[in-house]
Amino acid sequence: MSAVSDATVVEPNVLGLRCRECGREFEVAPIYTCEWCFGPLEVAYDYEAISRVTSRERIAAGPASLWRYADLLPVGSNPSVDLGTGLTPLVRADRLAAELGLGEVWIKNDTRNPTNSFKDRVVTIALSKALEFGFKVAACASTGNLANSVAAHAAHAGLRSYVFIPSNLEQGKVVTTSVYGGNVVAIEGNYDDVNRLCAELAGIYEWAFVNVNMRPFYAEGSKTLAFETAEQLGWQVPDHVVVPAASGSLLTKIQKGFQELHRVGLLDEEPNVRVSGAQALGCSPIATAYIEESDTIRPVKPDTIAKSLAIGNPADGYFALDAVRKSGGGFAAVTDGEIVDGMELLARTEGIFAETAGGVTIATLQKLASDGVIRADERVVVYITGHGLKTIEAVAQTSGPTATIPPSLDAFHAAFDIEDH
């Protein structure tokens, strides 16, 4: 092993890495699985030390980005790869709530990140950490959004990049990755094929694969969605959150984020947040296990327009299932038709254009509301994680000009019978 792989970086707030399956502990290094049981490694923090330094005031005085929460992140407080990610709007969605018969609903609009998805949160952390370790090349396996973000952040940091994607991705996501000038490798296979190849490549090349050997650090970025939500609600937590699930990591980390805030003294009361998960019916291994009350997640071959959620073999599926069950949330799987309807409903009622994954989340909100799982007396936060322009194909058939007419008053009056001047 070379110097890069053996590198260890000590942060005062971090104790080391810990296996989520068997609890074995490791030093901070670019490793991602327990060498004993293959369980995923997670950053272990010194919460006592963090409690002594962090405060609401210290956070408020920090940068207007996710780096205001550096005390709870596994990177030094001077991030080296930063495009200004985070602190995205939390928007009150009364018109959507009324349509669904709900009470207080908020949209966490994470389309408003540098490359228009929540993946910027994980990449700014993964690549800042990669520079600390001394890596010169950034890489990832991606369903699209991560590809955008890794290519952009690598360009910004002057790192070479290799981004691996399934060859059937939406054109918008391919173009908005390639434009940054790194290597984009389209694999003839689905995401799970791409991911397996990357796991094997990571054993050969000394690259920072953000979702492979950088994963313990990368995954921590998702917690900032919970941190921001609580701060934006005046240091209160929602009663219920609805989160899209691909690998299951985001959902798990949002729940962890709320718990950490309490653990370091930033919340007055212990958070009791019900967590619900959203999947597309064409790729719903976690939702299926939930609905069938099974403890086994069986991998599937994805077939859905929600390509950013098309992970058939979800690495964090077991943890996501556990988070939903223990918190008393729910899980739903929605059809491609319901996904498009969900995208249009959010756009029509709230003026927010989400990608297909957002359609999955809104359709799940709708389904769980009509099933009574999400109640009108709950304060609900819905996570919209990627911009609609990335998956414009999904609504291209149903969204177009209301009328196409010659440039004349007569033609307009003929097309539109408007009584109220």
Partner: protein, 91 residues
């Protein structure tokens, strides 16, 4: 039949740093058993106390996940590659 088992980095301390090990086997189960016979230690890393493959261990035969085939009883032809790959996060 001779098949090749590809060893992930995390387990190469058990195979004397070898990235690939040749074994005689007709199924995945036989291949992993033969691997344990050649390099003791693999068994307890790959299987839990009930004898099931650990849930974060993925096994592929000729690049296909064995859970889409016959699991541990999936047959392997001569010259096939069996890959042991840890589960990785999504993107």
């Amino acid at each position: 039949m001779a098949v090749t088992v590809r060893i992930p980095t995390q387990l190469r301390s058990l195979s004397g740093d070898a990235a690939e090990v040749e074994v005689e086997a007709a199924t995945v189960a036989e291949a992993l058993k033969a691997l344990e016979a050649q390099h003791p230690g693999f068994g307890e890393r790959l299987f839990d106390e009930k004898g099931e493959l650990r849930r974060f261990v993925n096994v592929f035969v000729a690049d296909e996940d064995i859970r889409f085939m016959q699991g541990i009883d999936t047959p392997v032809d001569a010259g096939t590659t069996v890959s042991i790959v840890p589960a990785v996060a999504g993107g």
